[in-house]
């Protein structure tokens, strides 16, 4: 295959060809013009001129002959002078005629010379012969005969010249036509060929350039696999090679950076080191690599998976005493230590015993990059190459330094993660102990409380004697506080079960609408006692859901109790049950003290108490809403709270209807309790403490 040339070469080649063509056109035009001019010259300056000179020649000659006759007749010297002087004119015109003549007519010229010379000779001899002598008469006669012969010869030449002129005129016209046609053809070719060549060259060069441009754009958009096609002229090919090499190098270094990212993903030190060494092995073409870690006042090899393990270990063990301070200085200066050729004088900076080990390993170039956190040097990466043809590049050094930094951060992360893991384990242990304690204590509270309830009922039944009204009133107070204590214990047990993961719901088909009157009836007396209006809006239709009836009842009881408890006298509590968007909806709305906006996000947490409730000394455990949230979660529903401090709170619970798959709603996804932060109600910040 022919070696491709550069664009410049082809540009020069094209220019050269173009110049040659232009030159050819010029030469052709000039040659054509010269040829035409030659033809025209022959026609006008030679043939026609020759006709004229030939006529002049005849005139000169006849002048001499007339002068000769004149002298013969009169003997006057002035005729003789003309006879002689016109000979000179004749000869010079004859020379001119010969100069104009071409081979085809030259004979006609020289033939005239023969007759003219004879006439001049005879005439010249006649004028010096004795006047009126026979000799003179004979000479004059001879001159006359030669003169006649000359005239005939001159006329023949004249006729021939006239004929030649006709031929030359036709030839000149034909030549002119051929020249014009040829010029037009070559000129057209001279214009068309460069244009065609330019178009081909443009296509030949522009297509590869466009491919390269597209490749660069693809890479700019993130297509790392994009590579330029190597086609076209040599320099375009070179450009494609260079871009591909740059892409390869970029990818290689990007791989190193990706490896760096992976290093930081690891939370254990051995994994960090293994990842780092694997990245170096894979992307940096090293023969040997190891990671030295600072340990006390020395260095130890963190990992070494190479055949030269023993040499490296021995070398590390024999490092000079000042190695660690040197390493710390190197780290502080944010520099790497690089020797491109250990055999060169630069390699003599290394202690001889270390250098000899490295050379024995076949190492040629060395790159050492320290790493650490803050001011603390943690170790160093040591990379060796055995190929003298691949010295360390600046980009490689930067990549190794970046990698070293990531190793340091990875090790630090691993160290911090390890400490956190310990702390979490301790906290989890404490939490489990607390829960166990709470469950145990709560359980233990039940036994004496059962005994208290039993004895109080026996007293109230009169088994311990007659009960006075005062005692009856006091026993009523005992019942109420026992009930509160039972509810508290029940809530704490429920919380314990929730935290232990033992709080489950026994879901069965239930008509939610049927549960509403029961719960409302249980709360209505206390609402009435508190001076509140209590409205219940329940549908006539069935709201069939899968639910645990007891837990739903508890859910409604907790929500309605909270509404009654945190609504001042004269307020209103409303319970609404209805169907909306494939859900059964329970809405408890009050006009109570609400929940401060900034506290609403924590409303479903354990032991949550709104700050305004605490300030108002309204008693509560802070467990009610947390239990409600867990119940809703167990029922694959969701709960929403909107509240505005001083204006009231609305809690909306939605449970999926049986056999109804609400569009865009997945039960589990909506099971987490939440406080609404959007919408008009949410903006009002309604809520209430628990």
């Amino acid at each position: 295959m022919r070696k491709p040339r550069s664009i410049v070469f082809y540009a020069w080649l094209g220019l050269g060809v173009d110049l040659l063509l232009v030159l050819g056109v010029v030469v052709f035009v000039l040659a054509g013009a010269a040829f035409q001019r030659s033809a025209i010259t022959v026609l006008t300056q030679r043939a026609q001129h020759m006709e004229l000179v030939n006529l002049t020649l005849r005139s000169d000659f006849l002048d001499t002959q007339r002068a000769l006759r004149g002298y013969q007749a009169t003997g006057q010297a002035r005729f003789l002078e003309t006879f002689y002087s016109d000979q000179a004119s004749f000869v010079l015109d004859l020379a001119r005629l010969r100069q104009l003549a071409w081979p085809g007519v030259l004979d006609g010229v020289t033939a005239q010379e023969r007759y003219a010379r004879a006439a001049f000779l005879a005439g010249g001899q006649a004028v010096v012969a004795p006047p009126a002598s026979r000799a003179a008469a004979g000479l004059y006669e001879r001159a006359s005969a030669s003169s006649d012969a000359f005239v005939r010869q001159n006329q023949r030449l004249q006729q021939r010249l006239t004929a030649e002129n006709t031929v030359l005129a036709a030839r000149a016209e034909r030549t002119l036509g051929i020249g014009m046609a040829g010029t037009a053809i070559i000129l057209a070719a001279g214009l068309a060929i460069p244009v065609l060549a330019f178009a081909l060259a443009l296509r030949w060069t522009s297509v590869p350039v466009h491919v390269i441009t597209a490749t660069v754009r693809r890479r700019a958009r993130g297509d790392r696999s994009a590579r330029a096609g190597v086609t076209g002229p040599a320099d375009v090919r070179e450009l494609a090679h260079a871009i591909n090499a740059l892409a390869d190098e970029s990818d290689r270094l990007r791989s190193v950076r990706a490896a760096s990212m992976r290093i930081r993903e690891h939370l254990e030190a051995p994994a960090v080191l293994t990842e780092a060494m694997a990245a170096i092995e894979e992307h940096l073409a090293v023969a040997f690599v190891w990671i030295g870690l600072v340990s006390g006042e020395g260095l130890e090899v963190a990992d070494n998976r190479y055949p030269a393990r023993d040499q490296v270990a021995g070398m590390i063990g024999n490092l000079p005493a000042d190695t660690l301070p040197w390493l710390r200085d190197l780290y502080t200066s944010h520099a790497s230590y690089c020797i491109q050729d250990l055999r060169s004088p630069a390699g003599e900076e290394i202690p001889p015993e270390i250098r000899s080990v490295l050379l024995d390993m076949g190492a040629i170039s060395l790159l050492l990059s320290p790493f650490g956190i803050g001011r603390e040097a943690l170790g160093m990466l040591t990379l060796l190459r055995t190929d003298p043809a691949t010295p360390w590049t600046g980009q490689e050094v930067e990549a190794v330094e970046s990698l070293a930094g990531d190793v340091a951060r990875g090790l630090e992360h691993a160290r911090l993660y390890e400490g956190k893991q310990h702390l979490v384990a301790e906290l989890q242990s404490l939490d489990r102990a607390k829960t166990d304690f709470l469950a145990s204590v709560t359980h233990d509270f039940r036994t004496p409380l059962t005994s208290i309830i039993g004895y109080a009922e026996m007293i109230k039944d009169g088994e311990a004697g007659p009960v006075t009204p005062k005692q009856t009133e006091m026993l009523g107070a005992v019942d109420r506080n026992v009930e509160r204590l039972q509810n508290l214990i029940e809530d704490m047990l429920t919380i314990s079960r929730i935290e232990l993961g033992a709080f489950s719901s026994d879901l069965r088909p239930v008509d939610l609408a049927a549960l509403v009157p029961t719960a409302a009836g249980a709360v209505r007396p206390s609402a009435v006692d508190s001076g509140l209006t209590f409205d219940v809006i329940a549908p006539d239709e069935t709201l069939a859901v899968d639910a645990d009836s007891e837990q739903i009842d508890r859910l409604l009881t907790n929500l309605l109790s909270n509404a009654v408890k945190y609504t001042p006298r004269g307020g209103n509590v409303t319970l609404i049950a209805d169907r909306a968007d494939g859900y059964a909806r329970l809405v408890v709305k009050d006009t109570g003290i609400g929940i401060p906006r900034e506290e609403q996000q924590s409303a479903f947490g354990r032991f949550f108490r709104a700050s305004n409730a605490v300030r108002s000394s309204i008693p509560g455990t802070g467990l009610g809403l947390s239990i409600v949230g867990s119940i809703v979660e167990n029922h694959h529903g969701d709960i929403e709270l909107t509240s505005q401090e001083g204006a009231g709170t609305t809690v909306t619970v939605r449970l999926p209807l049986r056999g109804d798959s609400p569009a865009g709603h997945g039960g589990p996804q909506r099971s987490r309790p939440r406080a609404a932060t959007g919408g008009a109600a949410a903006q009002r910040g309604e809520g209430r403490p628990r």
Partner: protein
Amino acid sequence: MTSGLPVPGVAGQLTRRRLLRGAAAGAGLGAVALGTGLSACSAPGPAPVPVPPAAADQSRTRKVVRFVNWYDYIDVTPSGVSPTLMEFTRQTGIKVDYTPLFADANQALGLVGIALAAGKDPGYDLVVVADWMLAQFIEQGWVAELSPGLLTNARRLRPQFRDWPVPDLPRYALPWQGGFTGIGYNAKVTRRPVTGMTDLLTAPDLRGRVSLVSDMRDVVGLVLLDQGSNPADFTAAEFGRALAMLRRSVAVGQIRMVTNNYLPALAKGTVAAGVAWSGDILYARQLSPALGFTWPEGGGMVWTDNMMVPALAPVRANAERLMNFYYQPAVAAQLAAFNRFLCPVLGTQAVMGRLDPALARERYIFPAPALLDSGHYFKILSRAQIAAYTAAFQTAVGL
């Protein structure tokens, strides 16, 4: 061997060369600008017509040289042979085919140059041409350069002619003979010498008895010199002033005739004085001792006829040997004794002293350098100038 040589002593033939020579000198109407070496003064002419390269010299195989000259311009015996040519043939074994052909300078073109113009053998190997015609031949490239190795006697050329009228003249030619243009007079008629052109053209005692040659250059050149102008470098105004003098002379009847055949009238006394050539007067004085020649007070004109080898001549070496032969003082003396024109060969005067002491003292055959230095040539004219000046001259003198 020589052939065709006219017998000297016949009056008609005696003066033929001299009577007709000047006609050519002023009749170059058809000529273009003259002289390679004078090109700085010449107007541009047509490009020279190159002749084909000369074939190899055939002198070794062809023992002949074809020599063409003016009529009556070589020594001849009453039997019609040339002693010098015979001597040359005797010494070298080279036959000389001698042709006395020219009666006019332009004939060198009409009879020799015509063949060269046609690219052919000119028919002659050695040609004697007037100085200005030599320049024209050189201009056309029709002259073969000489071989110094064969022309060992060329060193005897009078130094005044080495660069005049052609620079480096020996490169192309050697003078055959030279001459002066001055004033001839018949002392029997004038009873006094005629001293200059003003005297000639205005003296009352010469009225009606003056002749002029028909050559514009000779006559106008002498008038220009008489008026203090330089014939080699004059203005149109100076030329006009010279013509005005001639017109006045014609108008008052001073001029009797304008002809180159002035010797018979001068010898007879019909013409008392006129413009004349030195050789003519010296030769005619053998028959008419009263004839005299005056070198004008303002100076006179000097000319030469030159031997040249035409291009395409087949036996150039033979021609050069003949040229070299005539540059021997003894041979040159023989020629000068016959022609009585200016001898261009140094050392000839001493030989002449032994042959004819009277001729050896003749200042116009063997001039002193000062006399030669006072000679002038006419400036080179363009073709248009020649036509215009000649026409104006002929109108002025009534030709």
